[in-house]
Assembly symmetry: none
Homo-oligomer: 248 residues x 2
DNA sequence: CAGGCACAGTGGTATATACAACTATCAGAG
DNA sequence: CTCTGATAGTTGTATATACCACTGTGCCTG
């Protein structure tokens, strides 16, 4: 069992968060399970109840747990609430769900934008853009196919990146200085086609969730148009909605 | 100035949250402003630093404040256009899309909550709840089937409402005084089953978009659990996402 | 003048403690 | 049998305290 140490550079509540995340990932704690009480966790790891409580509270906020007064704290059945109104890439999304993201690059190339893509990226058709075709895995299993079209000055440098082990979004934001501010996304139900069926290892005609997303950097500049096909029976999209703004 | 009292039924940190919200609403605290320190707030309102900190932490989580270590806590600069994902019922949703909503009530009854529903509504299994089964039309064409489970004190009065010509959400908010504040929704791709196929007039095995939604009224009290099946080829779900950003 | 250091103020982490509110269970009274 | 009350265990709220990490200021030294 992992232990929590004083000397570690990381705070104790953070260490406990990671330990509990791992218990979910590994399946030791399953959805609906009652987890040990705050006092129990504190005692078990040699930290105070309030510190354990802080770790739990943050995971509750992230949607991994829910509490019921007088009864205890439980592992969520739905995995995410708040977090997903936030724009996340596949990598971040999977981590938030407690699954291990994986990627296989099927192709990466520069090529001219066709009309549909050009319109979404607000560029002229025929301009050279970076096109990335990836198979996405969760815990090693094929989950989705994603085609990204990226357009910015110098985007051909992406050809030299290792996109199997790096998050595209993280790269854009850190190395290329392109903050991803917001995105418009469409979701639609459909059926798996023959080409996708091979990659995803499911029968043709299985349910599929199609998503199309335009991601914007600063000044509402479109930078990516991505279209994905998720296996319908392996992926649930979560969203959180608010009725009215708290502030006028 | 408002004060925080011990006798109040509401917790102190909650009272302070409301006070600070009001300061933002009223313009006393403007975006970018430095707010008083945790110690200062505690002293000012006669509560401990940790209690003040809890109030601030929750407002940070809600995006109203951001903290900078060593400097202080500031009012967020971000526009409050955050709530781009509006919580809407079917009626409002269709109107926003420029289509004519229609409804056929298939059944409306009181009956005991099964385990799955009870958990989502955070009530005990077996409690009597209102169950509404509706076929939803857009411009006269069948679009979706929706089953709503509603639980609040006096919900049996809904049996007498005309729910073919009134929006359920509007009724709850206006007549029953139950504001619908937010909702968690799941979306998943699937296939149309035989029963649904008849109502929706599409072949069995057509693509379908399944949604499950828990709607909350004040104080995070779940009030409705609705599960819907949309014809996959007639409905697209739109969402707008923002990236969580460190403002500084 | 330039650089460095001390200091005060801020949020960040952590503990110990106490009681309230709520839930489930069980024993006992009626 | 049913109802009541006691009880133990849970999360929820609240306090007091302590020290750490980081930031800005300004004084002091070189």
């Amino acid at each position: 069992m992992s232990t929590i140490v004083r000397k570690s550079p990381l705070p104790r509540y953070y260490q406990l968060k990671e330990i509990m995340r791992e218990k979910i990932r590994s399946g030791e704690w399953k959805p609906g399970d009652l987890i040990p009480s705050e006092r129990e966790l504190g005692e078990q790891y040699g930290i105070s109840r309030m510190t354990a409580r802080q770790a739990i509270t943050e995971l509750v906020n992230e949607g991994l747990f829910y509490r019921e007064q007088g009864k205890g704290t439980f592992v969520s059945r739905r995995k995410i609430t708040q977090q997903l109104i936030h724009l996340t890439g596949f990598t971040e999304d999977m981590k938030a769900r407690g699954q291990q993201p994986g990627t296989r690059v099927l192709s990466a190339e520069m090529r001219p934008a066709d009309e549909a893509v050009a319109e979404r990226l607000r560029i002229k058709p025929g301009l050279q853009i970076f096109r990335l075709h990836r198979l996405r895995l969760a815990d090693g299993e094929p989950l989705a196919i994603e085609v990204s079209h990226i357009s910015f000055i110098g985007c051909e440098k992406l050809l030299e990146e290792d996109l199997e082990h790096n998050s595209l979004y993280r790269l854009l934001e850190t190395k290329y200085g392109l903050p991803l501010v917001e995105a418009d996304q469409e979701l639609e139900a459909g059926l798996i086609g023959s080409e996708e069926a091979q990659y995803l290892k499911v029968p043709v005609g299985s349910p599929a969730l199609f998503t199309r997303r335009v991601t914007y950097t600063e000044r509402n500049q479109p930078i990516e148009y991505a279209s994905s096909v998720y296996c319908g029976n392996k992926y649930v999209f979560y969203t959180h909605m608010k009725r009215e703004q708290l502030l006028s």
